[in-house]
């Protein structure tokens, strides 16, 4: 049969090494991709609805349950929204502790993703467990770093999955100085490990995968962005998170139980570490910029596979920043601020490990939720992932055997670190923008 005229259907019924349940349907007819759908079949979970009528701190505890890998992103996004709603100005102590805890989540999530989920693809292993047989030191180094992230989360939240320390206005408890001090030598030792990881990843073979998408991230006035209220894009736009709906549109695609996001004009938008580093390179300290340049990559990069290096550079930055916070730590007996609940509408945003997490709350006079909206980074990236799959498979060569195409497609998807158990997105757009 003439290769040019064949129709090939490639199905990946379960995507391995991603968080949550997804599948890929790919159809190639006469040398062209005629169908490329990332199907998310994670069942809907309706967080937006059953949290209506709940008080603020119950919502903070509940939204952690959206995602096991990045529970804090939801807790932090909602805390920011409630604090904006109630007009709470965080003290420097609370701000630093929020940042420290969230850096713990970045560290945990980045090293879990890069070492156990993504790196095996670059080195032709089916899993991190298999890769560990040939790369024991590298895998253990990544795991050590991941554990350190968990330890930071545990310090402030009691445990790393669904931590319990954060509340609206601050924390339930301030750690004692000696509890924080034990992290210092571990963070110091981790700097060397993190630097070695950057060097190791810069040696990986990178397939071509130029992505034309508009890149989007938060922008902090002085440092690399984690919590911020300003959004910037690679087209030079700048706007406040409150104006999010004027720039982006969230919608429901038939093949998926997760929502998709695009610009208002329908173009894909890229969130996550590659967007962050490209748009905020100037916010990295000079010696980290040097480290990033020493990888041989010319920043800004549009090769999507450079995300793994971006994550490792962010991991290094996060460890160094966490170390600084720990070295300057002093105990306070006021880990939280009082607030008066009131009726309000507010947005909250954070840079989750995978990109911007943006939440919106509508509250009654008791501060109880009357409507909730949750936009997770993965759902915002889904149109990008599909477009990226099409172009990178064409670059890879559609005449390659099915197995190779399948593996390459999976590699492209895993490279995004899709986190699809969240399947929990409320769409107010159709209603509110009429």
């Amino acid at each position: 049969m003439n290769v040019e005229n064949r129709t090939t259907k490639i199905e990946v019924p379960i995507l391995a090494r991603v968080e949550g349940e997804g599948a890929l349907d790919l159809e190639i007819t006469a040398g062209k991709i005629t169908k490329c759908e990332l199907r998310i079949y994670e069942p809907p979970r309706y967080f937006e609805k059953f949290l209506e009528g709940r008080e603020p701190n119950e919502v903070i505890d509940a939204v952690a349950r959206i995602c096991g890998i990045c529970p804090l992103a939801y807790q932090a996004g909602f805390s920011n929204a409630y604090e904006a709603a109630f007009g709470v100005e965080l003290t420097p102590w609370i701000h630093d502790m929020r940042l420290l805890m969230f850096l713990g989540e970045w560290i945990e999530s980045h090293y879990l993703h890069t070492h156990l989920l993504a790196a095996p693809d670059f080195l032709n292993y089916r899993s991190g467990i298999e890769m560990a047989k040939d790369y024991p030191n590298e895998v253990l180094r990544g795991v050590r770093l991941q554990h350190l992230g968990n330890e930071i989360l545990k310090l402030l939240g009691g445990r790393s999955v669904h931590p319990n320390g954060m509340k609206v206005g601050g924390f339930y408890r301030a750690p004692r100085e000696e509890e924080v001090a034990v992290l210092i030598p571990k963070l110091e030792a981790a700097l060397k490990d993190a630097k070695d990881v950057v060097e190791w990843f810069s040696q990986l073979p990178f397939p071509d995968a130029e992505v034309p998408f508009k890149m989007v991230s938060l922008r902090h006035p002085t440092e690399y962005p984690v919590f911020a209220t300003e959004v910037i894009t690679s087209d030079g736009e700048t706007f406040n998170i409150n104006d999010y709906d004027e720039h982006f549109r969230e919608f429901h695609a038939r093949q998926s139980t997760a929502l998709h996001s695009t610009t208002i004009a329908g173009e894909p938008i890229l969130f996550g570490p590659l967007s962050r580093i490209n748009l905020n390179f100037d916010r990295l300290p000079p010696h980290i910029q040097e480290m990033a340049n020493a990888t041989g990559i010319k920043w800004p990069s549009r090769n999507m596979f450079h995300s793994i290096i971006a994550r490792s550079i962010e991991g290094y930055w996060a460890i160094e920043r966490a170390l600084e916070i720990c070295r300057n730590y002093t105990y306070t007996d006021k880990p939280a601020l009082e607030y008066t609940p009131k009726a309000a509408n507010a947005w909250g945003a954070v840079e989750a490990p995978r990109g911007i997490q943006i939440d919106h709350v509508q509250l009654d006079e008791r501060g109880y939720a009357t409507a909730i909206r949750i936009s997770a980074p993965t759902s915002q990236n889904l149109p990008c992932i599909e477009a990226n799959l099409r172009s990178s498979l064409e670059t890879f060569g559609l005449d390659k055997p099915d197995d190779e195409l399948r593996l390459h497609a999976e590699m492209v998807i895993r490279n995004y670190d899709p986190c699809i158990s969240c399947s929990a997105h409320f769409l107010t757009l159709n209603i509110t923008r009429q």
């Binding site: 809907p44 979970r45 095996p120 991941q146 408890r173």
Partner: protein, 273 residues
């Protein structure tokens, strides 16, 4: 059948599968987050299916199937039946698998309201959701026989490794029968309810988390589900005495483990709706 007999023919080097149903993936992280232990576990057992970690062989014959998540779709009813048919033993882990989890809060809706939820959350193409979705989120045991259960939202690493170790030794995983208060007393944690007048569910909630919340100075909100000998009437009377409204009390029990009979039944009986 007595417990030692139950596991007497358990394979020396068993095949293990980890399956995910509707959940946040957080209980799987008890294995993945401690990758050192996972790598060591991989030297003792053959992990044949564990999608998030890599291995895929969904319906392989296994000695032990570890199940995370609750059953929310028609497709998953079929899947859990297939998994059960191929597994010698089934171990359910976490609040979702044991009681339906947080998404089981949908069980308090009626069909009309659920339809409304479906349209609100997925307004453009709701048929896909409506056709696939069940009206309820239910525990694994509502559909198939479950041999062992580990509570928690999430379970923790020590808990799952200990349970697997016990099964490898032919011993049924132990159940924690004490309430959270026991850990507080052993650890010398000041009672938040007595000292700070903080509502705490510790007296009626199963221990297993190491009393994380009271140690942080806040009340327990019930991640590990009901304790074995919970005096719910006394608990509810105490919460009322502390000034909580019926709505607030109801929300406390209608949370992570809302479908646990102890919580569900008592709230229905004692709180005005």
């Amino acid at each position: 059948m007595s417990t030692p007999d139950k596991l007497i023919n358990f394979a020396k080097r068993p095949k293990i599968a980890v399956h995910k149903f509707s959940s946040c993936d957080g209980c799987q992280l008890a294995l993945i987050n401690d990758a050192v232990s996972l790598l060591e576990l991989a030297t003792m057992v053959d992990i044949v299916h564990f999608a998030e970690a890599g291995p895929l062989d969904e319906f392989a014959e296994v000695d032990l199937a570890i199940i995370e998540g609750s059953v929310n779709t028609h497709h998953d009813v079929h899947r859990i039946e297939m998994v059960r048919a191929k597994a010698k033993y089934v171990l359910s882990v976490g609040a979702c698998a044991l009681t339906g989890g947080i998404q089981a809060l949908r069980n308090f809706t009626d069909e009309k309201e659920l339809r409304h939820w479906q349209h609100d959350v997925y307004p453009e193409e709701t048929e896909v959701i409506i056709e696939g979705d069940l009206a309820t989120a239910k525990p694994i045991s509502a559909y198939v026989k479950v041999d062992f259960e580990l509570p928690g939202c999430p379970i923790n690493t020590g808990q799952i490794l200990r349970a697997i170790r016990q099964i490898l030794f032919g011993v049924e995983p132990e159940k924690n029968v004490d309430p959270v208060c026991t850990t507080c007393k052993h650890a010398g944690v000041t009672c938040v309810m007595v000292a700070k007048n903080e509502p705490c569910l510790g007296p009626v909630v199963a221990d297993g988390c190491d009393a994380i919340c009271p140690k942080l100075g806040r009340g327990c909100y019930g991640c590990y589900g009901p304790a074995k000998y919970a005096n719910m009437d006394a608990m509810i009377a105490k919460l009322k005495e502390m000034g909580l409204s019926d709505e607030q009390i109801k929300h406390k029990f209608h949370h992570i483990n809302s479908q646990a009979i102890t919580f569900h039944g008592v709230v229905a009986r004692t709180i005005s709706q």
